[in-house]
């Protein structure tokens, strides 16, 4: 049987690189996706995910396995890193970068995916992060509440508002969905 997250974190703090890599292998994909959808940048997403793992090694790291699952903690850490970066940068600059990364210009060129990306980028940040965790990462509402430090009812209502907004913004693409997917 594999080691628990607590054991792996303990080993990593004692200098065992292998333990950190095991934690990385297990969780980095959803964390990267979440970070990428928040930032719109592969470089930023990678940097954020790396920071979260390295933060686990620091003495002042707040991870408490008795209170929080490692996945929840790491998603929360990604969110906090993103918020920290948001505060550092000019918000408009970030918004612009989100618009620039539309999949038309990169790997995801389909008009539909671009429209979805733009619509999600237009959501208020507080709704956007919840939509990303709920829809794309399929996390339970209770876990999202823990990550975002909100009540479940608040998570639920923000998710509903986000979906209602997207429904309006993407109404024009509804018929296209049938053809494109």
């Amino acid at each position: 049987m594999g080691k628990s997250a607590e054991q792996l974190v303990g080993d990593a703090r004692r200098g065992k690189e292998r333990a950190l890599l095991d934690l990385f292998d297990e969780h980095h994909r959803p964390l990267f996706r979440f970070a990428w959808r928040l930032t719109g940048s592969t470089a930023d997403a990678e940097d954020i995910v790396q920071e979260c793992y390295l933060a686990l090694l620091r003495p002042d790291c707040g991870f408490d396995p008795a209170r929080t699952a490692i996945r929840t903690y790491l998603f929360g850490a990604v969110r906090n890193q993103w918020l920290k970066r948001m505060r550092r940068r000019d918000h408009d600059e970030l918004r612009e970068s989100v618009d620039d990364r539309t999949p038309e210009g990169q790997a995801l060129r389909a008009e539909l995916a671009g429209a979805v990306a733009r619509a999600i980028a237009e959501l208020p940040d507080t709704q956007r992060e919840i939509l990303l965790l709920a829809h794309y990462e399929q996390l339970p509402l209770a876990e999202i509440a823990e990550i975002t430090e909100l009540e479940i009812t608040a998570v639920k209502s923000r998710l509903q508002r986000a979906r209602a907004t997207l429904r309006e913004m993407l109404a024009a693409y509804a018929p296209a969905t049938e053809k494109a997917i």
Binding site: R13, R14, G15, E17, L20, L21, F24, D25, H28, R29, F32, R33, W36, R37, T42, A45, E46, V49, Q50, Y53, L54, L57, P59, P103, A107, L108, A110, L112, A113, V116, A117, I120, H135, Y136, R163, L166, R167, L170, A171, Y173, A174, T177, A180, I181
Partner: protein, 195 residues
């Protein structure tokens, strides 16, 4: 647009896979323990080991009894190896203690916080003006640690589980951590420094 249609629409926005080099870049940033220079003790250890081996061979060839000398050499080599390995491990034990919110009690009374000094030693402030006690977990430090102004180290207690206990002069010091520091039990060495 119903919920299913919206979900299908949202699913059209894929995230890329993480770069395959990401793992290697994380590895490169993994903080590695600073290497301690083992040069001199290791050289002496090897030299002693060679001498012990030569003596053993000579004793066997001449039939003379050099058992005591050989045993002394072996003991010396063993001590040096343990001392060197413990010196290498000491920083990680010290860091583990630092992370575990240690509480210091002197004769059962809550005392000031631990200090952390170079060489992976901990420092406990003695009550009144009787100086400080340096604490080390390096075995044989009393035998092999030598430098200018080197204090006199002596075995004064033990560390087991989450507790470090030792005698510091007339006082009994107990340090409690919120989690286990080492497996099993190890001696604790203490040196008094008047300040």
């Amino acid at each position: 647009m119903n919920d299913t249609e919206l979900d299908r629409l949202l699913n059209s926005w894929d995230a890329p896979a993480p770069p395959s080099s990401m793992r290697d870049r994380l590895r490169a940033r993994f903080p590695r323990t600073e290497r301690i220079h083992l040069g001199r003790p290791l050289k002496w250890g090897l030299a002693t080991l060679c001498a012990a081996a030569a003596l053993t061979v000579a004793a066997a060839q001449t039939g003379e009894h050099h058992g005591d000398i050989v045993m002394h050499m072996v003991d010396h080599v063993y001590g040096l190896v343990v001392f060197t390995v413990d010196q290498h491990r000491a920083p990680s034990i010290r860091n583990e203690i630092r992370r575990s919110q240690p509480t210091v009690y002197i004769d059962g009374n809550l005392a000031g916080p631990l200090e952390y000094r170079g060489g992976a030693t901990l420092v406990v402030h003695a009550p009144g003006d009787s100086g400080v006690y340096m604490v080390s977990f390096v075995r044989f430090i009393d035998r092999y640690y030598r430098n200018k102004n080197s204090p006199d180290w002596m075995e004064a207690g033990s560390v087991h589980g989450n507790v470090i206990e030792f005698q510091a002069g007339d006082e009994k010091v107990r340090i409690e951590c919120n989690r286990s520091i080492i497996d099993g039990e190890r001696p604790v060495f203490v040196a008094h420094l008047p300040e």
